[in-house]
């Protein structure tokens, strides 16, 4: 950045104060604050209102994370839209060009501040994401021993679920509530993506690879299981239903399927 404007000027702090004393900056900032506020409010409820009922800890964490990210982005929207709205309101109409504006070629202070603020917001997002990832990894380690194992097989164009512990398989995904579950996912043909929507996990099914993902269903309710990776003709129809149910109901279901309960 060029330094020519800096020379004999007051300190950056004083310059900043001077900037905010200008009337147009104040109006644009007011617009910005309003926009930030709107996005902040919307972010708090709009995503959760769209997203399906969370039936697992992971899905709850995702909901929270999306809300927080919306809050982090609210000020960015505020700055961009606030200044856009202000300039748009001072637009020039007609068939001849307007008079020239001030020849502002750069403002190192503003550029520097912009980079610092955007980096800081980016850093918050990164750190928060890493923390969430880390807590998911920690939970995985913790669940390892007690988890119910479900072997998920993707084939064109049906999901099937094998419960090795109980010794049977099914085309529906039933899970007991409050017990960690470990999905071991593979494919017999092309790539699929295992997506039990309400559980907030999604992992690809790859030929001759087993991908593992775990979660803990913590609420009783209906599940939708979909394929999230285009897998050919009937990709659309590669979905099935399931349920998170009480321990008793689950055992009951296992028995009707010809499995054995522990």
């Amino acid at each position: 950045m060029s330094n020519e404007h800096y020379e004999m000027d007051p300190t950056p702090g004083e310059k900043l104060k001077a900037i905010f004393k200008q009337r147009d900056v104040q109006i644009a900032t007011a617009w910005g604050v309003l926009v930030t506020f709107i996005f902040f409010i919307i972010g708090g409820w709009i995503y959760p209102s769209w997203m399906p009922t969370a039936l697992s800890t992971d899905m709850k964490a995702i909901e929270r994370l999306i809300v927080i990210f919306t809050w982090i982005s609210a000020p960015i929207c505020g700055i961009v839209l606030g200044f856009s709205i202000y300039t748009f309101m001072h637009r020039h109409k007609g068939d001849t060009p307007p008079a020239d504006g001030p020849a502002i070629r750069s403002n190192p202070l503003v550029v520097g501040l912009w980079v610092i603020i955007s980096s800081a917001l980016c850093l918050v997002a990164v750190v928060y994401g890493l923390i969430e990832m880390n807590s998911a990894t920690a939970a995985t380690a913790e669940n390892k021993t007690s988890a119910l194992v479900v072997e998920v097989t993707g084939s064109q164009w049906v999901w099937s679920f094998n419960y090795p512990e109980q010794g049977f398989s099914s085309h529906e995904l039933m899970l007991p509530v409050n017990r960690p579950v470990e999905f071991r996912i593979t494919s017999v043909d092309v790539n699929h993506s295992f997506w039990p929507v309400q559980l907030g996990v999604k992992v690809d099914a790859n030929r001759l690879q087993t991908t593992v993902v775990d979660t803990t269903p913590n609420k009783i309710g209906e599940l939708e299981v979909k394929c999230a990776e285009l897998c050919g003709l009937y990709h659309t129809y590669m979905e099935t239903t399931g349920e998170v149910m009480s321990k008793a109901d689950f055992d009951n279901w296992v028995t009707t399927q010809g499995g054995h309960t522990a």
């Binding site: 099937s160 043909d189 003709l233 099935t240």
Partner: protein, 244 residues
């Protein structure tokens, strides 16, 4: 802005715009209708025959209906069964890929299977799922599961995502024809010399809705995982089920 004004009058311009827009919309419409026409099922819908008798299942009375289909190794086999085969000479179901079943009915389905086969890619599809008693009757014998190597094709119905959660999942493996058992001898007269297996199974339909069926046996030969060709072209080993 300076510049010579346009040589064209205002009304003419508006007329040209309207004509232009209508023309473009028409072009898009024609493309759409063409694709829609191409998408049509290759054969007429196949309706189940309703019977006068009823049957009681789990304390509830259902009317009965029958439907018969065949699965053929190629076009020639299909034509010998009195059905005009599909465009490509691939393995195919017939006489239609769109079947219509009455709602809330005890449907008995008969499938004549004339094809051989190698192996399923997942033991799951060797099991009979969703039929009455979870069995299929093969040449007079009730069977609940076939080994991976014993199958020629499967008839598998699943729900559409739009079916408003009236789930219907049926999987019936069809026993393959071996050269040495039921006499499929691929001689110079492949059709008259063989008889396939007859598979019969019954299931209960629920409320009206749209479903799809397809075959889960990898029979798209020469392609990756054998799920290309006939398996990935609409209408050969896949189709629609309308419950009305």
């Amino acid at each position: 802005m300076s510049g010579t004004p346009s040589s064209i009058s205002g009304t003419k311009r508006v007329a040209s715009a309207v004509v232009g827009v209508l023309l473009s919309v028409a072009v898009v419409g024609v493309v759409g209708l063409t694709l829609h026409a191409v998408s049509k099922d290759p054969h007429k819908k196949l309706y189940a025959t309703k019977e006068s008798e009823t049957i009681v299942v789990d304390g509830k009375t259902y009317p009965k209906a029958n439907i018969t289909m065949g699965v053929y190794a190629d076009k020639e086999q299909a034509s010998e069964d009195g059905y005009e085969g599909q465009k490509n000479d691939w393995v195919q179901y017939g006489p239609s890929n769109h079947i219509v079943l009455p709602a809330n009915t005890y449907v008995t389905m008969t499938i004549h299977g004339y094809d051989g086969g190698e192996s399923l890619n997942s033991p799951f599809f060797g099991k009979v799922i969703g039929t009455i008693g979870n069995v299929v009757n093969i040449d007079g014998q009730d069977v609940s599961e076939l080994g991976m190597e014993e199958v020629q094709h499967t008839f598998t119905i699943h729900s559409l995502p739009s079916s408003d959660r009236d789930p219907l999942f049926i999987n019936v493996p069809l026993k393959k024809v071996l050269e040495d058992d039921n006499g499929w001898v691929p001689t110079e007269d492949p059709v008259t010399n063989f008889k396939g297996h007859t598979m019969t199974f019954s299931f209960l339909t629920k409320g009206a809705g749209e479903y799809v069926w397809n075959c889960q046996f990898p029979c798209g030969d020469g392609t990756y995982a054998k799920f290309g060709a006939a398996m990935s072209a609409y209408g050969y080993m896949s189709g629609k089920v309308t419950v009305a």
